[in-house]
Amino acid sequence: MNSVDGGVVERDSLTAPCVVLGAAVGVFGVAFGVGAVSAGATVTMTCVMSLLVFTGASQFSAVSVIAGGGTVVSALAGASLLAARNAVYGLTMSRRLQGSLPLRLIAAQLTIDESTAMATARSDEASVRRAFWLTGLSVYVFWNLGTLAGALIGTAIDPATVGLDAAFPAGFAAMVMPHLAHRSGRRAGLIGAAVCLVSIPFLPVGLPILCAAVGILVGVPKP
């Protein structure tokens, strides 16, 4: 079933990973729905937020600031910082996602951690696109169904008790492996991880991940 080509598994079925990833995101969606409603959002407001904002970390951050008594402006600032990395993902994905303007405007909404990571882990153009769309749509559907369920039910499974808080970094570890096959990728990854880790205690949530982008400067000298 799997064919290993240039160090990257190309032909494994994308459907199972996408469904598993989507389902895991869905559990966090339930947690988000519960949190937003208990922070004073209506069910409609909560669902509209997941449909339109669709970037989980920003949504959680906004809700936790409001729940903690923060202002709309401070909630917006923190959440925007977390959303900024999607612009960097968009730049990366634009090299690989050509197509009509309406299609790219839809693709933009799906440009998040999971879809970018799953797509860029592939090496041929067709499976890059397929991975992007399958992951983006799967996560979109599960995230929004989870949000609706959470907002209606009001009590969620705590993702931590079933270990789901480790599922995301683990998933990202699997997705980053193909990028570490080359020396420049390993150096960029090492710098990114180190900068992020060192800056976590000193910078607002979200900024350490963005700062990790300095790792890409490894690409400045000609190979």
Binding site: L52, A62, T111, G171
Partner: protein, 103 residues
């Protein structure tokens, strides 16, 4: 929670996505920029791994996740299927957490 927050955040979040993918993304960029952009996933996804493993709410926290992610990283490095990688992370983390060795 207000509609102002929901709609403003929607506009900002979509603005970032469109800025990268559609506005800048359509242009051809100098070779040096292309080389750097190719390294974005390596740098940022590595940072996500570290961030989601070692931190909570802006602080460094070492808990059961570390064990789960360590096991999963070995599985990923050994080219285990994606599903196995994330299920092993969740199971190891949940078991370690339930024993109370690490929170």
């Amino acid at each position: 929670m207000t509609w102002t927050l929901v709609l403003a955040l929607s506009a900002i979040a979509y603005g970032f996505k469109v800025f990268g993918l559609v506005i800048i993304g359509g242009r051809s960029l100098p070779a040096v920029v292309e080389r750097c952009l190719a390294l974005v996933p390596a740098a940022l996804i590595s940072a996500l791994v570290v961030n989601d493993t070692f931190s909570s709410a802006g602080e460094i926290i070492i808990d059961a996740r570390v064990a789960g992610v360590a096991v999963a990283s070995v599985a990923a490095w050994r080219r285990a299927p994606f599903v196995v990688v994330i299920v092993s992370a969740a199971v190891v983390t949940a078991v370690i957490r339930s024993t109370g060795i690490l929170a």
